[in-house]
């Protein structure tokens, strides 16, 4: 197993373990409570509207939207981490067929690993830092992934 291939395999499996641990922690400690809050705020907003208290209704809807925004990104980070882990593992096994030199392969593997870890992290950071910072990380790393993946496809096609 060559260096770049090893990097991809270990980074992929480590990412899978990390994503599942995060998912496990999230499911046990956060998800159910978050879903209760989302549902509670939405129902509360409509109940305030039924009492014609529109200020409270709007505040409830704002809380609902914020909680749903956070929840969506938390779940997206989990699913994208695990998805990217699968892609890294699959590519690790195929890596020897890539028609590039070892240095280019290592750079490509590094870009894929950076993108696979960084893209979902960028999604998650939108909840904790100013949204443009998280979006910036997500955009840059997803761009890196797309370019790297196109290069991989090219590498296989060149051989064919």
């Amino acid at each position: 197993m060559r260096r770049a291939q090893q990097m991809l395999a270990i980074a992929g499996l480590a990412l899978a373990v990390w994503a599942m641990t995060y998912g496990f922690y999230y499911a046990v400690w956060i998800e159910h409570q978050t879903l209760d809050h989302i549902g509670g705020w939405l129902a509360g907003a409509f109940q305030h509207a039924a009492m014609r208290d529109m200020t409270a209704a709007r505040a409830g809807l704002d809380d609902y939207a914020r909680a749903k925004y956070v929840y969506t990104r938390e779940v997206d980070a989990h699913s994208h981490w695990i998805g990217m882990a699968m892609v890294l593992l699959a590519l690790a096994a195929l890596w020897n067929r890539l028609e590039f030199g070892e240095v280019a392969r290592r750079m490509l593997a590094g870009a894929l690993i950076l993108g696979a870890y960084g893209f979902p992290l960028g999604v998650l950071l939108q909840n904790h830092l100013a949204a443009p910072i998280g979006q910036g990380v997500a955009v840059i790393t997803s761009g890196l992934l797309i370019v790297a993946f196109a290069m991989v496809a090219y590498g296989y096609a060149r051989r064919a």
Partner: protein
Amino acid sequence: MALAGALANAEPDAAAAFPRMSARRLLVIGGLALFLTGTIFGDVFAVFILHPNADRIGQALAGAIAAVRQHRVEDVGRSFEAIGGFLENRGTKVDAHAHMIGFGYLAMLLAILYPWIRLSEAASRRLAMLLIAGGVVLPVGVFAIHYVGLAYSPLEAIGWASIVADTGGLLVVVACGGFLVGLWRGWKDDAPPAEDALPADRSWAGRVLMAGGTLLILAGFLHGAWFAGVDLYAQERQDHDLLAMMAESAAMDPGPGLIPERAGAALNGYGNLQADHAVKIAAHSHIIEFGLIALMAGFFQPFVFLEERWKRRWAVVLLAGSVVLPVAVLSELKFGLLAGGVADAGGAMVIAALAGMLAGVLRYTGRLDGLSAAAAGTGGGVSGGGR
């Protein structure tokens, strides 16, 4: 006969790499079975539950608007409780489907990487069984959440089904951690891994599946990037604005009727928005999932004991279904049930192709076992590839 002859030359090595009840065989067969079960479950869910459930959510939301209009605060709460139940019904089934497929992938990927994992066969077999057990327990637990609820639960927010599901997840984490240790030891070990038949395969079906899978994944990435850049934030704003309009219109708009015109329009818009969001997410995730499964199926072609023409047919059917389903799902908003039917047919194509390949793997293992038994002089083995 020609196929049997060709296999006979390769089989001593293959038999060593893929022995009866070995960890690798467990991972391949368990992984394919998990993927297949998850996909069949997803198809059944899409046909029988998804659309009726969406209609019920719409009706409950309309009930909530009417209750707001009539100052019936408790009925508003009851309507949203019902919506919560419908969403939980949908969410748990989607999660069960997605996790079972995900664990199937993981098992197959570990089978592919198996030659580089430095663990004893017994330890690997235990980890493989743990992974597959967790891959069954978690989705079954998630599926049961909607039906079990909080009955007899010792916890405030988490029921027994969730506890079972989380235990399944823990089993998978432990199994993956064990395999990660094995890969790490392989990294440290300078000894080259044994020659492996899987990555060396250059058959037509294998190449087409790998190239097609890579292209499907790339298409899924591009679609996801487009969705995140163009649709996601706009849809989140619309979600909030449409709900606000429903609440305000129901509370403040003058005129008769249980659902004022503005609230009705917002309700329709909200339904369309949810549908648009759902089909785009489903298309994005399915095209990547099918790309991955095509890639992995490409690896396993040396273990698929079928005639070459049948291997090619199943490869083409798998890739065709992998394109048909996401494209038809995306068209559902325009063409309604017709596109839904085509999407289901695409899913059925993927299922049929994988079932065909799984049958080929089982025939292959049966043949290997027969040959091993004959070589050991025990007799009575299955020979000629028939299980």
